[in-house]
Each structure stands twice: as structure tokens, then as C-alpha cells.
Amino acid sequence: MADSSESVHSMQQPVIFTTQTQYPLPTQKFMIPTNWRRYHLSQLVNKALSLATSIPFDFIVRGEILKSSLGEWCLENGVGEEETLEIEYIESVLPPQKMTDFPHEDWVSGVLCNLQGYLLTSSYDGHIRAFDYSKNVAASSHVHNAPVTSLSLVPSPNPEDSKYTVATSSQDLTAAISSLELSSDDTGTKTAILATLHLHTAPVSSVTSNSSGTHLLTSSWDGLIGLWSTTIPSTDEVPEPEGSGNRERKKRRKVGDESKPRRKAPINVLKSHTNRVSKVIFGQEPGANTAYSCGFDSTVRVWDTDIGVSTHTIAAAEKPFLSLAVSSDGRHGLATATDRTMSLYDLRSNDSAITSASTFLHPATPSCVSLSESGNQVATGAYDGVVRVWDLRSTKGAMASVKAWDGEKKVLDVDWKRGIIGVAGEGGVEVWKVGEAVN
């Protein structure tokens, strides 16, 4: 081994560095010894730029993150030593570090890391919970008497101190809007169900709120997407079911004692999916009226919520989609499917022929996907209990992978916000810190 490294040492590979970070190197050809690894290259870039604090970089060679030495990579890919390699470097994602875990008694279907200091979870026992970072349950509310499938924070226009509005979707065919009061002192938390949303005839798979908090979208297994306003009506918009509906109502009444939740009807119903809609999300731009949905009919659809029609459809072949994430500019969509792939789609182009730009292969069913705030990295959780962090430029392998709960427990939701990844699933919730770009 030593001999070979000695012999390799003499060889040098011409390399050009490119980057999209704010640390560009001058465009020139470097002769790099072929036994250099990522660490050496990172040091080279740091020295060349003479940065005050050293920043670790990762290097992408032809869509693949460099993990071995340069010479071994060239050998593997059959690149001659006279070819000039173009290497793109990105700021390295430090190996994720586990911060805390929040054990649950039941499976956790959703997690939100949006709130500073708190973590919101929704569980299959019908509760939504809020944790502070010291593992204390700040609030717990039994919202549904069936498993809660997802939750979403509704941003309020005038952010009060500790009062939040949370939308949840459940398998009891409804979604609900609840208020959650998180007080720092011990006096108690107040949760109340404000309204229940009645449209769907099958379990509601996801709920999402737009960035201004005025509207909600719910997707259901019956193929419909409901558009709702977040205002709480003074009276029921949907009449109480007759007769046999008593049973469910009784239980719900137990939860919300003081004020009965209002029954809301949707503003609009978006119909195009022919099978279960697994995920719907709002566009991130403020004031935008676009929505994105994916479903088991192997389509990703872009909706105009104002007029309620599908403006663009990406039809894949036999890819029942499980989850969807859309970049903040609405340009790219990432959808995971049951054929163990995550596909990157260009949502703007109308040419259906060039829809899938790249495919990220997983060893197990990727159930959830979350884009980082920078938009270049993405985290996926799979049924083998591994959360993988990918760079969108490198399709061949994950940049980092995290094994949650040390076992084969399914990851059902990931949320990557503010540098932490919340991982929800069969074993509860874990929070991992991912060293993303220091902006």
C-alpha cells in the first residue's frame, strides 16, 4: 500500500475549481497530486483564499462527491491523468450530530421545527404536542380521535407572544385548526380546537398553510384537495350529521369542552388527481397563489388556487409519489416515490419530455423529504430508519446519512429548519443538528 501510494504520489492531475459559494477561486489550472483527498483539497482552497476561519469544503467531481483520493477516483472512472477535471466545491455539511430525542408512546407522523425553542409533533394517538428543548412537554392536545397524519403551523399576521395556530389533518376524514398557547411559565398551556374542516370522504393525508397564514390546503386519499380560509366562522358551515354521527361528536366534545369547534366548509375543491393525494404544499413566495401536489396516480400537479385549476402536470410512469418538496422559488420540485427514488422535476418547463432532471436512488422507501433553507441540500427519511442528506448536484450518493433510533424503524417525517433536522417516525422524534452553510 505504501509502495503504491509512493508511486501515485509522483502523479499529478490537472484540475479546475469552480464554485457557487461566495468563496470563488481564480479560474486557473491546478496540478493536484493524485493521492490528495477531500481534506487536502479543502485545505488548499482555504489557504488559497487565506480565510480567517477555516471552512470545510466538499468536492463534487462529475456529479459525485469525492470520498476517496483523487487518484482512486480517476482510476475508478477511467479518467486519464492528462484530462482536466472540473471540480466544484461546496461548503461541507458536517456530519449531523444528534442533539436530543423526544420519545413518544405512539408513532409520530409529523414534526415541525419552525418555532424557536419549541418542537411541534403530531402523533398517531391523535395528539399534537409541543416540546421545549429540555424535553418537557410544553403543550399536549388531543385533537383527533384518529391518527393525526400531518400538522402545519399557521403563521398569524400579528405574532403574539405565545399563541399559535396549528392545522392538523387526521384519518378521521377531517382536518382541524387548533390554537396552541405556549407560555414560558408553568401556569399552563391552553389548547383549543377552533374549527374542523369537513370535505373529505377518506383520510386526510396532509395539511399545509400558506406563508401569510390566510389559507389552508388539505389533501386526501379520495383524490381531492380542499382550499380553506383560516378564519373561524361564528356558526357551523356544515350541518351536523344526523343520527349515527353522535359517537364521534361525543368524543370530540370531550376534548373541546368549553367551546364546540366550528364545522368549516372549503372555499374551493381542486379536483384532478385520480388516486390518493399524498402531499400538498403551498408555494413559498409571499402572496403567491400556487400550490403543488403529488399523488399515487404518479403525477405532480401545480395548481392555481385562485381559480382552482391545475396549471401544470408532470406525469411519471408508475411512480406513486409519497412526498413532495418545492424549492422556495418554485422552480424545482422533489418528489419521493414508492419505487425508492426521489426525482427532481423542473416545475416551470412545460415540456413534459424533460421533466425529470435527476433521480436519487434509495435502498428503502423514501417516505418524506425536506429541503434545506438554502435550497441545495435535501433530507429524506426512509423506511429503513435512515435520514439521508443529499446535495442536489450529486445524485450518486448521499452526502451524509443518519440512522435514527438505531434500528429498523420507519421514518415518517423530516423537517429541516434553522440548521436542525427533526426526524419523526416509529420511534418518536429525534433532533439532529446539521452544520449547513453559515450564512
Binding site: 408513532w107 398517531y124 384518529a146 391518527p147 384519518q171 378521521d172 376524514l173 370522504t201 377518506a202 383520510p203 386519499w221 350529521p241 343520527g243 349515527s244 354521527g245 359517537r247 388516486n275 390518493r276 399515487f296 408508475e318 406513486p320 409519497l322 414508492t338 419505487d339 425508492r340 428503502a364 422507501t365 417516505s367 423506511y383 420507519k410 415518517l412
Partner: protein, 759 residues
């Protein structure tokens, strides 16, 4: 002829001259007539002369000498007399002249006289009188106008002029009546013709009549012409050969120069042969039969050539003339070898050692050895074994690649674990979102296909042996077989209309009238007040000791459900009708143990599988349609294709049979891929897929494309072997079910796991 006539006419002129002299001019017409008649006589006289001519010639050479004198003299006299007679007769009467043939001789007759000089007889012709009248051409006719149109004289009293310039008067001609009278009275009128020159009728002479007669008979008009006269040999015979050339002229050049014209002709033919227009040697159409000896040569094609003789064994070290010491026999061995019979010896020689090749004696057994080998070759039958040289790859059927037949399940996405026992049965809801699975511990779990989270759990006493969802889409419930009961369970979280319909179906407020025939099967509904989702809304109690229902299958409309109970005292095939709340046993007695039943997806047909046979009944007409014999010793499961035309049957003896119901009672294909007993087979409702599970813990996925046209056979392609279930106590995967709308598979195993296989 003209010369003759001239000559004769000259003689006649002489006579006419005499006539003219003797007779007055008043009878010119008679004169004219006479001359004409003489003309005719002269013509006919040619006969005699022509006849005589050959005689003369023939005699001229040979008979000239002997015996001619006397006769010639006589002839001379006769001729003289004749001449005299002639003259007299001619003057006297015309008619006599006409009659006598001899008078026709107008040529001067030759006389044979003895020449005074030579003394030989010679022929002498009378002298021609060279006077003025000798030219008879002018004295022929008195009218000398010549050959002019005679109508010029029509208006004149004369018809011309004679030689002296006197007018020749027109002869008198009678009128028509005279003509007629002439024909009647004159016997010669029919042989008379109009003479143009004399303008009067003239009777034809005998010669003219003779000519006319010959012309009528298409004969030569010359009476003397003999077409059969003998040939005269002028040049044959001795002494008559022509030995000298006729001409002394040198041979012309064209005789010995090749003809250019001929060359061109030949070249034309040669060119045509070259171009193939002419076949030089055309195959002869008449085929010549060639005979051959039938038995001479043997039929070589039928009888194969004898196989080559086996090669004799190569000599070994011991057969060397100088073998190593260890090959040499010891004394005992030599003795033993010699004592044995030649047949019993291991080898037919003893190794011997010679120090050099020079000392080796002649091999005394050579002849014997050769003879034995020949005997072997002759007596031992030898067969040439035909080696089949077939590429084994060509025997593999051409099947499409599995990659082109996607989607099909190829990996295990998640498992749901039953902790209390084997997951014996599993069923998927018609919408494909929920799974109900039961284990032998009595636990029934309802869970999502996609996440695998249990939503609801029911617990019963006794093994859960069968589960099936009702295929109705407007009502949602499923049936489980536990112990000897069928329980109808309703999943939670149903939308209100579905829930109320389900409830009204299974626990109607007013029960339908009890059937007239009492059934041993008891139906028991939970009262709507006390019922909750945790308990069955309807229970059907099968008669006691009927065994646990091993299979429950629904009719596609969702009103009938059939259950098969095994292990009981009697064969328990029961058919339950939900709307009437009634159960009946469709078969009074079934031969053999019923293993499985199935409703036909489109027709009112019912499949019943016993241990070895599958019978197809028509329920509407209550009769047996056909019996299928798959050749399986013990049938474990079966499923019918959604089209209803195909059936797959799995057996405990590892065989899987595909039946084309339209085709035959025998299986279209028998597949034997599993290493252990097949437990469950299932067709996908929409995708062209089917799967089979086995006790070896594996599931095999097949692509099964069925074509609409009856000519194309179904295409069955093995796609994937799914492994992941553990075999516990000899049991592997107990039941498999397809997810309805997706190419996903659910499998319940003996290890208590229910796995979901995604595409």
C-alpha cells in the same frame, strides 16, 4: 406449224390456181371453202407424220441395211398412187377428203430410194416448187383487206378486195328463219362457225373438231403428242459415256474461292447460335429408356456405412521387449498364468525381458491375435451413437426481459408484525388503502398499506382462519372466520353515508322474513344501541363441529359470500346471502374434501376445488359444467383471472397449473418453480400479474398477459422471486393478496409478519 401450213398451203395454192383456171369466178365461195378445208386436213395430217418419225429414227441406224428394199419400193408405189389419188379426190369431193386419214398428210412425204452413188437406200423428199405460188400465204383468202375491223364494210355491198383489186362481194346471208331452217335441215350446221373474213358460216373441219374435243377433255390439243413415249438413252450404255470435258475452259475462280455470300449466311447462323436464338443441340424430346441392372449396386442411403472399427489398445510398459523389473512376473505368477485356462487369464501374454531388440524372437501369437481381432470386429455388433448437438440456449423460450414488464413488486417496503401467532390470512380493502390481517392468536389488525401502522385491533378467541373484504365500494366491511363463526367487522373512521349503509346492510332495523327452510346456520346481529366498532356487527354461526372456515370468498356484487370449512365432520361449503340473511349449502354431497371455492367474476359460475379436481358449476341452472383435472395430488388454492377465462391452481405438491377454461380440461401450463408446497396464488385485479407463495418462504411474481383474441396463447413470464419471510415449523408464506390499484403485494407469513412489497 406456221411453216408447215405455209408449205401445205403452197401446194393448195397450186390446186386453187388450177381451180381458178378451170372454174369461173362465179364460185369463189366454194374455192374459199376448199382451201379452208384443206387447211384443216393438213393440220390433222400431222398425226401420221408425227407417228412415223420415231420409226424412222429408230430404223435409221440399225435397220438401214437389211431387208428394206422390197418394202420401200412398194411404199414408193403406194405413195405415188396416193399422191395421184389425192389430187383427183380433192378435186372431186371435199367430204371424201375429210374422211380419209391418209389425205390429211400435208407434209411432203419422204421416199426411200436406193442412192445411185452409194447404193444405199436414202430418203428423198419431193422438191419444193420454187415458183410464185409456192408462197401460199397470199392465196389463202380471196379477201385481201387484211386484219381490219370488218364492220367498216358493213354498209358496202362488198366485203373487201381480192388480190387483183376486184371487189369481193358479200355473200348472201339468210335471215333468222333461214338460220333456224339450216339448223333443222342441214346436218352440218351444228359444226359450222362464222368466218369473220368471209362473212359467212363455214363448217369446221375434223381436225378443228378434234382439237375442240381435246380441249374439252383437258388434253393436249395435238393429237400426235404422246406423253408416254419411251425414254431415249442418249448417253448411257456402252460406248456412249462422255469421257472428255464438254469445255476446255479453265475452271472459274468461283469454284475454289469460298463464297462470300455463303460465309455471310453461315455467320448469321453462328451469331444466332451464340446469342442463343438457335439451340445447336436441342435436347431430344424422345427419351431414351436406359436399362440398368437393378441388383448391381446396393442402396447406399438406407444402409449406413459400418462404423469404424475401435482402435486396438495401445501397448503398455509390460508389453515392452525390455520392461522394467517390476513388470516381470515372478515364478509363482508365471506358474499361475500357465495353469489357468486361456479364457481365464487376465492378460494373454507374459512380460518378457530381452536385453536388446535384436534378441526378440518372432511373435508366435501374431496370426492368432490378428484372427481374434478380426473375429471380434466381425461378431461384436457395433453401433454408432448419434450425438445430439443442440445449443442448450436455443431450447430456452424467448421471453421478454422482466425490465420491460415493469411495474411489479420487487422489494419489501415494510412489515407488520403479529406477535401472537402466524399471520394466517390477509386481505386488502377494495380501495387498496387498508389491510386486515389475522393471526392464529385471534388478533385481527387493521392497518394502512402505506405506513403499516395498526389502526384498529380486534381480538377473538380462537384462530383467525380467513379474512375477506366485501368488494362493495359503497359499503365497507370485511368478514373474518374465527372458530366456527363468521364475524362481520366494520373499520373505523368511515364517512357517514358509507357507515350508515354498512350498518343498515348488516344490522337492518327490520329483519327480512325468515326463510321457509330452516337453516342450521344462525345469523346474529348486534343491536344498534349496544354495538361499537370493537365488536362484530354481525355474526354467522355455522353448525357445530363443522370446522373452522378456511376460506371466505365474496361474489363480486358483494351480496353473496361463500365459506369453506375444513377439518369438520362434514364438508362445509356454505353460501351466505347478506340481503336475505340466509345461508345454504349448495351441495348436498361432494366427492372428496373441498379445498377452495371461487365465484366466477362475470358469469353465475362457481368453482369448487376438491383434493384433485376442480369442478365448475352453473349456479343459475344448477348443473355441473366441466371438471378440470390439474394433475395435482392435493390442491391448496386457486384463483381466477379477472377476465374469467383463466384459472391458476396451486398444489401442495409444488405444482402450479394454468388453465385456459376455453381451451381444455387439462392445464395449459404446469409450473414447478417452488421447492415446497404452494400455499396461495392470486391474480392482480388490474395489472397483468399473478403471484404464488410457498412454504419455502418465497413468493414468485409472474407476468401473465392474456390476449383478447383466442388465437394467442397467454404469455407467462417469471419476473421476480421475493424472499424475506422466514420459514417457521415448515410453514412459509401462508397467504398473499394484491393491492387493488397498485402493483403491490401483501404476504402473510408463518413468522407472524405481513410484508408489503412495493414496485
Amino acid at each position: 406449224m406456221a411453216v408447215d401450213s405455209d408449205r401445205r398451203s403452197s401446194r393448195k395454192r397450186k390446186q386453187t390456181e388450177e381451180d381458178h383456171e378451170t372454174q369461173p369466178e362465179s364460185k369463189p365461195v366454194q374455192l374459199e371453202m376448199l382451201t379452208d378445208e384443206e387447211d384443216a386436213n393438213e393440220i390433222s395430217s400431222d398425226d401420221g407424220e408425227a407417228d412415223e418419225f420415231p420409226e424412222i429414227d429408230a430404223n435409221s441406224d440399225s435397220e438401214a441395211d437389211d431387208g428394206g428394199n422390197s418394202s420401200e419400193d412398194e411404199e414408193e408405189d403406194v405413195a405415188d398412187e396416193d399422191e395421184d389419188n389425192e389430187d383427183t379426190e380433192e378435186t372431186e369431193d371435199d367430204s371424201d377428203d375429210l374422211d380419209s386419214d391418209s389425205s390429211l398428210h400435208v407434209f411432203p412425204k419422204a421416199k426411200t430410194v436406193i442412192s445411185d452413188i452409194t447404193g444405199h437406200p436414202k430418203r428423198v423428199y419431193p422438191d419444193i416448187e420454187p415458183d410464185y405460188d409456192s408462197d401460199s400465204s397470199t392465196e389463202d383468202t380471196p379477201n385481201r383487206v387484211g386484219d381490219i375491223p370488218m364492220h367498216w364494210y358493213d354498209d358496202l355491198p362488198h366485203i373487201g378486195y381480192d388480190i387483183n383489186g376486184r371487189k369481193v362481194l358479200r355473200p348472201a346471208r339468210g335471215d333468222e328463219l333461214d338460220k333456224f331452217l339450216a339448223t333443222v335441215e342441214d346436218p352440218d350446221s351444228w359444226i359450222s362457225a362464222f368466218d369473220k373474213n368471209l362473212q359467212t358460216d363455214k363448217p369446221l373441219t375434223d381436225e378443228e373438231l378434234d382439237i375442240i374435243k381435246r380441249l374439252y377433255q383437258n388434253e393436249n390439243p395435238d393429237a400426235n403428242y404422246d406423253p408416254y413415249e419411251p425414254m431415249v438413252e442418249w448417253f448411257t450404255g456402252k460406248g456412249k459415256e462422255e469421257v472428255m470435258p464438254l469445255s476446255a475452259a479453265p475452271e472459274p475462280k468461283r469454284r475454289w474461292i469460298p463464297s462470300k455470300w455463303e460465309k455471310q449466311k453461315v455467320m448469321k447462323i453462328v451469331r444466332a447460335i451464340r446469342q442463343g436464338k438457335i439451340l445447336p443441340n436441342k435436347p431430344k424430346s424422345t427419351k431414351k429408356i436406359d436399362f440398368y441392372a437393378i441388383w448391381s449396386d446396393q442402396p447406399s442411403t438406407l444402409q449406413q456405412p459400418p462404423p469404424p472399427a475401435p482402435k486396438p489398445r495401445l501397448p503398455t510398459n509390460s508389453e515392452s521387449y525390455n520392461p522394467p523389473e517390476e513388470y516381470l512376473p515372478t515364478e509363482e505368477e508365471r506358474k499361475e498364468w500357465e495353469d489357468k485356462d486361456p479364457e481365464d487369464r487376465e492378460r494373454d501374454y507374459l512380460p518378457q525381458k530381452y536385453s536388446s531388440l535384436r534378441l526378440v524372437p518372432a511373435y508366435d501369437n501374431f496370426i492368432k491375435q490378428r484372427f481374434n481381432r478380426q473375429l471380434d470386429l466381425y461378431l461384436a455388433p457395433r453401433i454408432q451413437r448419434v450425438k445430439l448437438n443442440i445449443d442448450p440456449n436455443s431450447l430456452i423460450p424467448k421471453l421478454p426481459s422482466p425490465n420491460t414488464l415493469k411495474p411489479f413488486p420487487n422489494y419489501k417496503s415494510l412489515t407488520f408484525t403479529h406477535t401472537t401467532g402466524r399471520a394466517r390470512c390477509v386481505s386488502v380493502s377494495p380501495d387498496g388503502f387498508w389491510v386486515a390481517s389475522g393471526d392464529e392468536g385471534g388478533v385481527i389488525s387493521l392497518w394502512e398499506v402505506n405506513v403499516g401502522r395498526e389502526v384498529k385491533r380486534w381480538t377473538f378467541n380462537g384462530k383467525v382462519s380467513a379474512i375477506d373484504w366485501c368488494p362493495r365500494t359503497d359499503a365497507t366491511y370485511f368478514v373474518v372466520g374465527v372458530g366456527e363463526d363468521l364475524h362481520f367487522l366494520v373499520p373505523p373512521n368511515l364517512p357517514e353515508p358509507t357507515f350508515s349503509l354498512t350498518k343498515s346492510l348488516l344490522a337492518p332495523p327490520t329483519l327480512p322474513p325468515a326463510p321457509t327452510v330452516p337453516s342450521p346456520v344462525k345469523w346474529e346481529s348486534a343491536s344498534s344501541a349496544s354495538w361499537s366498532v370493537d365488536t362484530p356487527i354481525l355474526s354467522v354461526h355455522l353448525p357445530p363441529s363443522s370446522g373452522s372456515p378456511s376460506q371466505i370468498t365474496w361474489h363480486r356484487r358483494g351480496d353473496y359470500v361463500a365459506s369453506v370449512s375444513t377439518g369438520g365432520a362434514q364438508n362445509g361449503v356454505w353460501m351466505h346471502q347478506i340481503s336475505r340473511r340466509h345461508s345454504q349449502a349448495p351441495f348436498k354431497k361432494v366427492k372428496g374434501l373441498v379445498q377452495a371455492v371461487l365465484f366466477h367474476p362475470t358469469k353465475p359460475h362457481f368453482f369448487v376445488a376438491t383434493q384433485q379436481y376442480i369442478r365448475l358449476y352453473n349456479l343459475a341452472e344448477q348443473q355441473l359444467l366441466k371438471t378440470l383435472s390439474p394433475g395435482i395430488r392435493w390442491i391448496s388454492s386457486m384463483d381466477v383471472h379477472p377476465s374469467g377465462d383463466h384459472l391458476i391452481v396451486g398444489g401442495y405438491d409444488r405444482k402450479l397449473c394454468w388453465f385456459d377454461l376455453e381451451l381444455s380440461d387439462k392445464p395449459y401450463k404446469s409450473l414447478r418453480y417452488h421447492t415446497r408446497a404452494i400455499r396461495s396464488v392470486h391474480f392482480h385485479p388490474t395489472y397483468p400479474l399473478f403471484a404464488s407463495s410457498s412454504d419455502d418462504g418465497s413468493i414468485q411474481i409472474f407476468h401473465a398477459r392474456v390476449y383478447n383474441d383466442l388465437l394467442t396463447d397467454p404469455l407467462i413470464v417469471p419476473l421476480k422471486i421475493l424472499r424475506g419471510h422466514k420459514v417457521s415449523e415448515g410453514l412459509g408464506v401462508l397467504q398473499i393478496r394484491w393491492c387493488n390499484k397498485q402493483p403491490w403485494l401483501l404476504s402473510g407469513g408463518a413468522d407472524g409478519n405481513v410484508a408489503v412489497w412495493y414496485s
